[in-house]
Amino acid sequence: MRHSKNFNIIGYTQLTTQQFTTKFFLHLSIFTSLVTISLCTTQKYNYPYENPLTSTIIGTPRLYEADIPVDIPIITHNITIDPNREIPELFWYQKQLTFSYAKQPKPAPLIFILAGTGSGHESSTMNFLQKIFFQAGFHVINLPSVTHPNFIITASSHFRPGDYQTDGADLYRVMKKCLDAISNDLEITKCYLTGYSLGGAHAAIISQLDHLQKKINFKKVLIINPPVNLYNASLKLDTLLDNNIPGGENNIGPFLNEVIEQFSGIYLSSNFIDMNKDFLASFFQKQHPTDAEMSTIIGLAFRYYCSNMFFISDALTHSGVVIPKEITLSSNDSLTDYFKVFQRLSFSDYLQDILFPYFKSQNSALTLKQFKQQSSLHRIKDFLQSSQHIAVMTNADDIILSANDLTFLQNTFEGRITIYPKGGHLGNITHKENIKNLIHYFKDH
């Protein structure tokens, strides 16, 4: 009954046979192209958490996770990206860019994996994906995020990550150098690219650069849980913290003290050695945190990554935002007071005080409003729309996406998008079904 009503709406009843055939096949092709979305939204998706905040924090319980090999041969490699760069003594431990790769013993396709905000090449998600792709027969290169301290210090062209285009260019340059450094060690049949969260957005930007420059020639690209607009997504995460501080933003100091005290107390009284997902699951079972508390945990994690990035940029560029311009810090200097200040500064502050002034100095006509719209997938919409080799996986309840963002992704990647009904932000990235689809996408010829 419902179907016939739908057919009436799209006007099948008044058509000639030829028109009917043409229109039917047109709609059939649209229908098949949307099949991935409908499959995931209508069939039962066996993921346990309904609340996107819980999903974002805990991730996927082991029972629902894809099986991975315990150990794979991973080679950690260091390369100098910029031989003329002088790294301040404060960052003495960051001499070169570090990435890792897993190689197959025979000719195989290579996949690059780009990390999310603040993550290195060996974060738990990166490790998981590296094992999954290796198991599926790929050579795998894991790269740190442009926002990771190691990347900012050793590879960032201007020490201020946060602009999609320049960050994408930096990453693309690094990828080529990594490839050159290890190409003799690998027999590569073709190259693929994937990335999650901020790394997903970078994968999109790099696809366009690669399309123009053809230095690597990616055959397929998969973007996982990307932020559509970096500023809007960051604002959402900052708001999670700021809106949940009892007594308002000015009360952040005592509030942070209380949260850290409580959380560390629970951790120390538990039997867990690592603060891993088992600890978090157990913590949630015992404490039943409220939405406000969960929002705070997510906001704090983001604030921590932000603080690292903000401090490093301020120290390397002598912007004078928190560290006085004339001071060159050494590894013996106390950074505690700086840490306290950076904990109170948001991504918006970083954008306003570090990023925007730099881009403004390159283009005096640039306004802050324009700049905020600059780091957005909207800017490369036409390219993304026409590039059949790029696909997206995301979640309907991803906390960094607005309803408009989701519509944008659906319209731009029509037929190439998979939207899972739940999972929050990256909570389901290790889920059996997600991994099956992920591998299937790259394996499918």
Binding site: F311, N332, K340, V341
Partner: protein, 261 residues
């Protein structure tokens, strides 16, 4: 006894000497420059962002911070250049069961100091568990190579050290310290480490420290490698510029929890 005391003294002196050498060498504490020129005021500072009376959870009693930070750097370098390569070599010449056996045996030797400290802290439950562990592991566990007490009798290894005992009798932690090779500590816990080591040397149930000096050093080196092998952390692993602050916070928090629970 005298030999043992001499060894302990040598050990303690080694720590003091390394500290002294480092303080007076290239990675020494740079002198605090009190006559720094005035700087351009940054946009945000603690004085403008926080209440003057506000306390911060990250704060700690760390009067030797500059020295500690230089020691943190020294340890990180030692770890990268000597300690971790040694652990890697150790892995290449041993199998996992061998390493587990060695680890259990060293653990068994240190149970003596756990027992004494549990008794000194008046914790008779822990003392009884530890006594059973020593007896079971030294016999059924074949000189401690197998942790039979844990596997067959669910007698979990207890955690009592001299630092906790000193705290039990009212000793304050004192200043935070980064010890050469040992890492984060406090003055009280540093004394505790030396004391615990002395207990092990004094009791020496296996007679290890009555062997030839070369054997003694070999055992000590193996003990150190085993210790490092069982710590799943690396210096600057977080890559955060604030790692020292966080390590200090977590260490002090964990010790406070252990000494007050």
């Amino acid at each position: 006894m005298l030999t043992i005391l001499t060894k302990s003294f040598k050990y303690t002196m080694m720590i003091v000497c390394i500290n002294f050498i480092l303080i007076n060498s290239g990675c020494a504490i740079p002198e605090i420059n009190n006559t720094e020129p005035s700087h351009t005021k940054p946009k945000y500072s603690l004085s403008t962002m926080a209440d003057p009376n506000e306390t911060f959870v990250i704060d700690a009693y760390d009067p030797w911070e500059r020295y500690n930070r230089s020691m943190y750097k020294f340890n990180a370098n030692f770890d990268r250049k000597i300690y971790l390569p040694a652990v890697s070599l150790y892995h290449s010449v041993t199998t996992p069961p061998m390493r587990e056996g060695i680890h259990n045996a060293f653990n068994n030797l240190s149970e003596v100091s756990i027992l004494i400290n549990a008794l000194l802290q008046g914790n008779f439950e822990s003392s009884w568990i530890t006594t059973q562990r020593i007896v079971i592991n030294s016999t059924i566990g074949i000189l401690g190579i197998f942790d039979a007490a844990n596997e067959d009798h669910e007698l979990i290894r207890q955690s009592h050290d001299l630092g906790q005992t000193l705290a039990h009798y009212g000793a304050k932690p004192g200043p935070f310290m980064i010890l050469p090779l040992f890492g984060p500590s406090t003055l009280r816990d540093a004394i505790g480490i030396a004391g615990d080591y002395m207990i092990i040397l004094n009791v020496d149930p296996a007679g290890l420290y009555e062997q030839d000096i070369l054997i003694q050093y070999s055992i000590e080196i193996l003990n150190c490698i085993d210790l490092r092998d069982n710590i799943n952390l690396e210096y600057y692993q977080t890559q955060s510029p604030f790692e020292y602050d966080m390590v200090r916070f977590i260490y002090l928090k964990a010790r406070k929890y252990r000494t007050t629970k």
